[in-house]
Symmetry: C2
Subunit: 223 residues, 2 copies
């Protein structure tokens, strides 16, 4: 039982394989694995955080929302990562400034907030795990500021399509979801996609977008 969990954790978070027995026994003693359904909220804006979720499989989306209800994705938490924003909140006693929600069925390992600081002080492996996550988030979000401030929506849409997970050359996402990614509205996304289609860059189907001319598409992001 515990063996299985340990294997899973080790596989998801390679860094932890360098951990000693002491950290492992604390991890396994105080943490709990949990299975979350898709679209389950992990955190709401303003939450106080009582545990740190570490993603074993699946993924969660971290996003924020404007008054109008429009959303924008800040980043995703994938296998092996954890909701580091939670960690920050715990360590600085801040409120959580965003929403986090699973996208697919997601297995998480929950670590109680109380343990975090102590581990951070005692275990170098844990330290570097946490710190490198926080800092790469910081870099991500700075990149996002840059995008939002200086790029047009069509350029951002291209970047999304190019970087998105694909089956072959097809991105499976609805226009509405794409709008929530980018922080805009469905109509605007549809309009831009339609113009891409009329230029032969993509072909559209209900619920998915096939990229026909990736280099042509990429060229649109430059200008």
């Amino acid at each position: 039982m515990t063996e299985k969990l340990r294997a899973k954790l080790g596989a998801a978070v390679p860094t932890l394989n360098e951990a000693g027995e002491d950290l492992w026994s604390e991890l396994l003693a105080s943490g709990v694995a949990r299975e979350l359904p898709p679209r389950q909220f992990i955190r709401m804006e303003g939450d106080h955080c009582e545990h740190l979720p570490l993603v074993l499989s699946g993924a969660a989306r971290v996003y924020t929302m404007g008054e109008s209800g429009r959303e924008i994705t800040l980043y995703r938490i994938e296998r092996g990562e954890s909701c580091i924003l939670t960690a920050s909140c715990i360590l600085n006693e801040l409120e959580f400034p965003a929403f986090a929600r699973t996208e697919t069925e997601t297995e998480v390992f929950l670590v109680p907030a109380a343990s975090l600081q102590g581990w951070f002080d005692r275990y170098a492996v844990w330290r570097s795990y946490v710190l490198s996550l926080v800092s790469s988030r910081l870099a991500d979000v700075i990149g996002l500021v840059k995008e939002v401030t200086f790029l047009r929506l069509d350029e951002r849409l291209v970047e999304y399509l190019i970087g998105a997970p694909k089956q072959g050359n097809t991105v499976t996402i609805t226009h509405a979801a794409l709008a929530s990614e980018l922080g805009t509205s469905r109509e605007v996304v549809s309009r831009i996609l339609e113009s891409f289609e009329s230029q032969g860059l993509v072909s559209l189907e209900r619920g998915s977008i096939r990229i026909c001319d990736e280099s042509g598409l990429a060229a649109r992001s430059g200008k």
Copy 2:
């Protein structure tokens, strides 16, 4: 000499007063104080970082830039803070994703990159200093994404004016500098300020903005 420096560091970074002699002696042995003139670049985009600057007095602005040359301020580094983005870059071996530049005459204490990781492993005080800085930056920048994505410029301008450093009720800044704060162009700022003035909310002078009706101004940010 060293005594003076130690006092200065301790005064600027209260956390360090909890540090033991071991950390102090390393700090003082490997770091160097330096006086920087206003508008001096500390970091350029793409830099590799060789030392971590810790601000003893003065302030630096961290910003990024679009292709057109427009700028947007990400945050400021004030007394006692350090260019934590530098720390992230050092620890993760990334390139620096922004610009950092002093605003006023600024005293910094330079810590060589090579020392950082070791201190981070050995000294709890140093750890919590670094981690709390990184995480509060993350929260700041997430807030910025939210602003940029969901607020209109006039609302953001109001927020800036309300939060800005003032002498009495006067904010000393040029329209062009304000534009660089917000990531827009000077003309747009002038236009909005002019409309504020015509509503009796502010009064404008060359190089400064006097806030006449703070609550009226604040009301404009809501709607």
